[in-house]
């Protein structure tokens, strides 16, 4: 399977700011790829480079096998985009805006358009200036999804949607996947990414710091353990690879590095395990591991307990 998006050492600078600092990203065709990172990490910049509306300072990007800057127009026949901040023409209705955008790509699927308007519960007769943020977002989502594109670049597409519409959106993305389409989904909503994504990349300061399936990522990260034993264990702190060790309600609570999980479990079973809960790291924790040093330790602790 060839890659839908491949970048090698992608750099984009704005004056002294390095928004992308050697980004290496690979997104296979037919997958939903979660693109995670906090504000200012470079997600939107990367997507705009993929769209060919920003020109990379250095490095290479291939989108569906093409150069996004030079082949932008060709490429856009097969690509659809939803920005996180949608602005519409104030005196055009939402329905008109959908059609205008559709016409610009040479037409849209009318049946699909009608179906999506229905599912997203959009009133297409209101003027652009009267829409709320969420409704403007719906217009862009419907316009993009009514196209027959193969690759969807969605930049925080549900930022203004209510939870109900969020569910509709997730259904729609699953349908795209079942049709073999590729989706790059940039998002802050970890639950959304966890539910939809086959593969995930975490971007930090313009660099991909981790990439893979959620399962792979979990294997690379600490597991949370809460354990009660028949006989007291008092030498846990001597074991390698344990973190945040503490007593809570008579149980030992700690996080353990993946390579020490087996040894730790053997040690514990020597004392007779009474109850044991182990949680794979959540996406939030994966994120925090990469951004932890940007937060103070206290905040980090709170976030973990939360």
């Amino acid at each position: 399977m060839s890659a839908a998006i491949t970048t090698r050492g992608l750099v984009k600078t704005f004056g002294p700011t390095r928004a992308l600092d050697g980004l290496d990203l690979e997104v296979d065709q037919g997958v939903v790829h979660g693109f995670l990172g906090p504000n200012g990490a470079g997600k939107s910049t990367a997507i705009r480079v993929f769209l060919g509306i920003l020109r990379a300072t250095a490095g290479e990007a291939r989108i569906l096998g093409k150069d996004p800057w030079h082949d932008a127009v060709d490429l856009h026949h097969r690509l659809a985009y939803v920005p996180g901040d949608v602005e519409l023409w104030p005196n055009l209705t939402g329905g008109e805006a959908i059609d205008v955008l559709g016409r610009l790509r040479g037409g849209l699927q009318d049946k699909r358009r009608a179906e999506l308007i229905e599912r997203f519960d959009l009133d297409p007769t209101k003027k652009g200036r009267t829409y709320s943020k969420g409704n403007r977002q719906k217009v862009a989502i419907i316009a993009a999804l009514s196209s027959g594109a193969d690759l969807f670049l969605l930049d925080e597409p549900t930022a203004g949607l209510d939870p109900l519409m969020e569910v509709v959106f997730q259904d729609v993305v699953r349908e795209l996947k079942s049709q073999g389409k590729t989706v790059l989904l940039s998002s802050h909503i970890l639950a959304q990414v966890e539910r939809l994504s086959d593969t995930i990349s975490i971007i930090r300061r313009g660099v991909i710091v981790q990439s893979g399936t959620l399962l792979q990522m979990r294997h690379l990260n600490r597991t949370h353990v809460e354990v009660r034993t028949h006989r007291p264990v008092d030498d846990l702190h001597t074991l390698p690879g344990l973190h945040d060790l503490r007593r809570e309600h008579g149980a030992w609570v700690f996080a353990v590095d993946p390579e020490h999980l087996d040894a730790t479990m053997s040690h514990l079973s020597g004392h007779g395990i009474d109850t044991l809960t182990s949680n794979p790291p959540t996406l939030e924790e994966l994120m925090l591991r990469h951004y932890g040093d940007e937060l103070s330790h206290e905040h980090l602790g709170e976030a973990r307990r939360a």
């Binding site: 704005f14 004056g15 002294p16 705009r48 769209l51 060919g52 509306i53 920003l54 020109r55 030079h70 082949d71 932008a72 127009v73 060709d74 856009h76 026949h77 690509l79 659809a80 985009y81 920005p83 901040d85 949608v86 602005e87 519409l88 023409w89 005196n91 055009l92 205008v100 955008l101 016409r103 610009l104 790509r105 040479g106 200036r129 009267t130 862009a140 670049l153």
Partner: protein, 533 residues
Amino acid sequence: MSGVLSGSGRLFRLALRRDWVRMLVWVASLGLGTAAIALTFIEIYSTAEAKQAIIVTMASPAGLAFTGPAHYLSDYNDGSILSHQLLGFTAILIGIMSVLFVVRHTRTEEEAGRAELVRANPVGRYAHLASALLLTGVANVALAALLAVLLPLTGITALTWTGSLIFGAAHVAVGLTFAGVAAVTAQLTQSSRGANGLGIAAVGGAYLLRASGDAAQSDLSWASPIGWAQQSFPYLENRWWPLALNLLAFVALSALSMALSARRDLGSGMRAPRRGRASATSMLRTPLGLTLRLHRGMLLGFAIGLGLLGMSYGPFLGDIETEFSDISFIDETLTAIGGETLIDAFLTMLMTIIAVVAGVYGVMAVLRARSEETSGRGEQVLGTLQSRTTFLANHVIVAVVGSAAIILLAAALLGVTGQPTVDQPVIGKALVAAVIHIPAMWVLIGVATALVGWAPRATVLAWALLGYAGFVGYLGRFLQLPEWAGRLSPFSWLPGYPAEELTVLPLIVLTLVAAGLIALGIVGFRRRDLDTA
């Protein structure tokens, strides 16, 4: 680089859909306005004596500075009177129209983020520029066609078909040139405000070049796109070739704009944005400080523009006096214009123009409050402890003080640069003439404030009044409008100092009217819903 123009046609149709009313209003008012003025002129200059008198008036540097090249005077027929006196003035309006249209469909779309949404489709890199230029071209050609057909149909024999065709073509030529200028300025700045400002400054610069060139009867007019259009001499020589210069400039500027746009990212200007302070200064933390900061760029721009205007007319004051002693039948002319010397008459007329431009600033400054409101930023500010009164009053204060400051600056520079060329003291005269105009300017600000308070969707009326005042101030004295029509402009109530005697009462009344309108506007703004949708 494939299909850089793809989608231009569709974007053009979208632009036409959005803007056909706007276009119609511009084209119809410019076209019909010109025809109406042609009909008025034929009345005013019906006799040989009237024609002779206007030739004498126009032959002065002041007259030429306000109209066009002296060559028109060699055969001042009903047609060349029209093209001489009107083309320079209309050129400013066409220039502004073209700048606004081009920027509206290029930089504004980028700034609003809609260009990003559009360009994610198979739409070429130059499509926005191409569609904006096409739309502006269509507006200009429509105006030219209207003029070419309408003017001969007025039945005025001097308005020939050929002459009218050239006259119309001169309009398109100017419009296209400034469309090209705006296409370039839209690449340079990140904000549409900046792109419009630079474009309109270029229109003003071109007008000043031709004014200076024509007044001194030098070749300087050939440096101005408006000058080229006037060199076509409609209804006189009917020359096509100077208009080719405009066309050439249009092609070159359009090509430049596309080359520039290919070198930059969507949404950015030509320079990386500078970084600013991490925290606000204590000045910026006050409500008035914030307002001042928002107005800073525009105020500076107008101050520089009007300062240059004053400085560029100053050195001609001497020429006016020379002309004065040369002409034997000057007594008649003077009684026609009024005043002691031609310099006085010139100062009076020039100060009205300066005051109208300063009024443009004043109205823009007041309407800034409105754009803060509709952008949603006003909502954020008013969500704090700031009252509505403070919010609107601050913008009005900046408008009131700022407009007065820039007119005084222009007058001071006019006087200082003019003084060495004349025998009589002019600095004081210029400053007093400026002070006199301030209350009328404030009335315009008052009208804008009242509209913001009571009819926020009709703020365009403030522009209409300003445009009318400018029209009366610029051409009213030639048109000999009926008394009541002239009185609609606040400037008409002013004493025509230094040409006429100084009276204080109208100034007090106008100031009170302005204050009343401002208070009325603030009361209305406190009562109505905020417009944030």
